[in-house]
């Protein structure tokens, strides 16, 4: 292979005037993490609500949950972001559309909400399966004790269901982090975008993407380790998931 390796390129000044190439990648990493955290909060909250809706006795509620999940998980994320960013402002009245388009940091908000909603469909499915995994007797016992439906979920079903689905939720969080790279398509300058920019400026393509790979890996390992601690911390002996 005819390639000129130069690992010291990271300490060379980047042409955008904000320091060297390493600073450039790190600023992308910060944006990646910020987007992932915002998206994950949206995904967890919305996903938990929709997941619960799907298990309710009400036909309307479970029908809505079903439609929501199928809508968001059956369309490629790339297409969804594109729709939110370019198509939505054209569908609303002109003045609203113009306001949406002129918003500062529009790619960041669009990415956080878009990825958040996409991932929420998956979290909803996890929540539903977590509740479904509990023995039927739990719900019946709660009803027999005179708890309302809301109380049954709050005090009996959800505390256990969330403990069951913690390990798959870790994977979903990792997916959220990796999915932020799709936001490059709507102009979010996150880690992958910075790596692309770096290879475009310096032509050191392998160095740029190796660094991006290592950074993604490090962030994800930190998340995995942190989630292990959370799992251990919330485990209750005697529960399905307890040791």
């Amino acid at each position: 292979m005819n390639y000129h390796w130069n690992w010291r390129v990271f300490w060379e000044p980047a042409p955008n005037g904000t320091g060297n190439y390493l600073d450039m990648l790190l600023s992308g990493l910060v944006l990646t993490i910020e987007t992932a955290i915002c998206a994950w909060i949206i995904a967890l909250v919305t996903g938990a609500v929709v997941g619960v809706l799907r298990t309710l006795p009400s036909k309307t509620a479970s029908g809505f949950g079903f439609a929501y999940v199928e809508f968001f998980r059956n369309m490629p994320l790339l297409v969804q972001l594109f729709l939110w960013f370019f198509v939505l402002p054209e569908l609303v009245p002109h003045s609203w559309g113009l306001w949406l388009k002129q918003l500062p940091n529009a790619p960041f908000y669009t990415a956080a909400i878009g990825i958040g909603l996409f991932m929420s469909a998956r979290v909803a499915e996890q929540t539903r399966s977590g509740i479904g995994a509990l023995p039927r007797g739990q719900k019946l016992a709660a009803t027999a004790l005179g708890l309302t439906t809301a109380q049954t979920y709050r005090y009996v079903l959800l505390p256990m269901a969330f403990r069951i689905i913690l390990p798959p939720l870790t994977s979903e969080f990792l997916s959220t982090i990796k999915n932020t790279s799709v936001a490059i398509t709507i102009g979010l300058v996150e880690l992958t975008a910075e790596a692309r920019a770096m290879q475009e400026f310096s032509f050191q393509v392998f160095e740029a993407f190796t660094a991006a790979t290592v950074l993604y890996l490090m962030v994800n390992i930190v998340v995995v380790i942190a989630m292990r601690f959370v799992e251990r911390g919330v485990a209750i002996p005697g529960y399905i998931t307890g040791k």
């Binding site: 005819n2 390639y3 290879q199 032509f203």
Partner: protein, 309 residues
């Protein structure tokens, strides 16, 4: 495509056998020329949407100004190696894949709209300049933006990771314009930002702006600025570094083409006439600088060396 590849392989094997017999004769060949002689195949990297340099027509066949130039280089290689038959294989490349694919030998020539600059010369080589382009902006006529100063405080799009966005960022800082820069992933998206009013202007190579405006729903609605963010920068066909024998063949072939009447004819074919697939006419006459670069072919990365006298 598959059949082509198998054919290439069979032919490559046959040629390799022939090559072994005549090894003493071909010993002085090195690098890319040697590889082409051994395999009987030359690989050309093309871009799928760099109109009119390198793009796909309605039959998904790569065409364009740079492709035509590359085919001239292929002819020269064929003559140099005294081959009866040389198979040309086309490989699609993007701005992220062109370097690795060139480095690992998947492509031998990158025929597109790649800017030749000193930083890139550390990694690759370029043959004689085939086009000069400056960074300008396109806007809707209705927004009445005439100079770079008029962009003050507005939202302006450009493609992330390009020299264009770098120059826009520099001008923004140097002239204190307070422009809100929106980075887009691809050139087409930068233009889409202007089309959908997400940005008042898009900053790109002027020739790309001309092709986007010509291809839009309402070509008359757009205007390209006369104010430029940069000096004219050279485009070149990209080859592997440290392969002087192959570069010499490519340089001689391109120089001969540019200096002959055919060079001007080829330019007119892609820039002054209707081009496939949609019959667009870019209508960009050859500039004084490029005329000079055609008369005296050069592979210099320095914009100052292209000044017309």
């Amino acid at each position: 495509m598959k059949r082509l590849r198998i054919m290439g392989l069979v032919m490559g094997l046959a040629l390799a056998a022939a090559f072994c017999a005549a090894q003493a004769n071909a010993e002085e060949l090195t690098g890319t020329l040697k590889k082409i002689k051994e395999t009987g195949v030359i690989n050309i990297g093309y871009r799928d949407s760099s109109i009119p340099f390198s793009y796909l027509d309605d039959n998904q066949k790569p065409i364009g100004f740079a492709i035509d130039i590359c085919l001239k280089i292929v002819d020269a290689v064929k003559k140099e190696l005294k081959l009866d038959k040389l198979t040309v294989e086309f490989n699609p490349v993007t701005s992220s894949t062109r370097i690795p694919l060139l480095a690992n030998g998947t492509i031998d020539l990158e025929c597109g709209s790649t800017t030749n600059n000193p930083d890139r010369l550390k990694q690759v080589a370029f043959t004689n300049t085939h086009f000069l382009t400056a960074t300008r902006f396109v806007s809707k006529k209705s927004s009445k933006l005439n100079s770079i100063e008029d962009l003050k405080g507005k939202s302006v799009a450009s493609t992330s990771g390009t020299t264009n966005i770098k120059q826009l960022t520099e001008a923004n800082a140097a002239r204190n314009l307070g422009i809100n820069i929106i980075p887009a992933k691809e050139h087409a998206e930068s233009f889409l930002m202007v089309e959908t009013d997400r940005a008042v202007a898009a900053v790109l190579d002027d020739i790309l702006l001309a092709s986007f405006a010509a291809g839009s729903k309402d070509p008359g609605a757009y205007v390209i600025s006369t104010d430029a963010f940069s000096k004219p920068e050279p485009y070149g066909i990209m080859l592997r570094k440290d392969d002087p024998a192959f570069k010499k063949v490519a340089d001689q072939a391109t120089a001969a083409l540019y200096q002959s009447a055919e060079g001007q004819k080829l330019y007119d074919k892609w820039f002054m006439q209707k081009i496939p697939p949609k019959g667009l006419n870019l209508n960009v006459p050859i500039g004084a600088e490029l005329k000079k670069a055609f008369a005296k072919p050069t592979d210099s990365p320095d914009p100052d060396s292209y000044k017309a006298m």
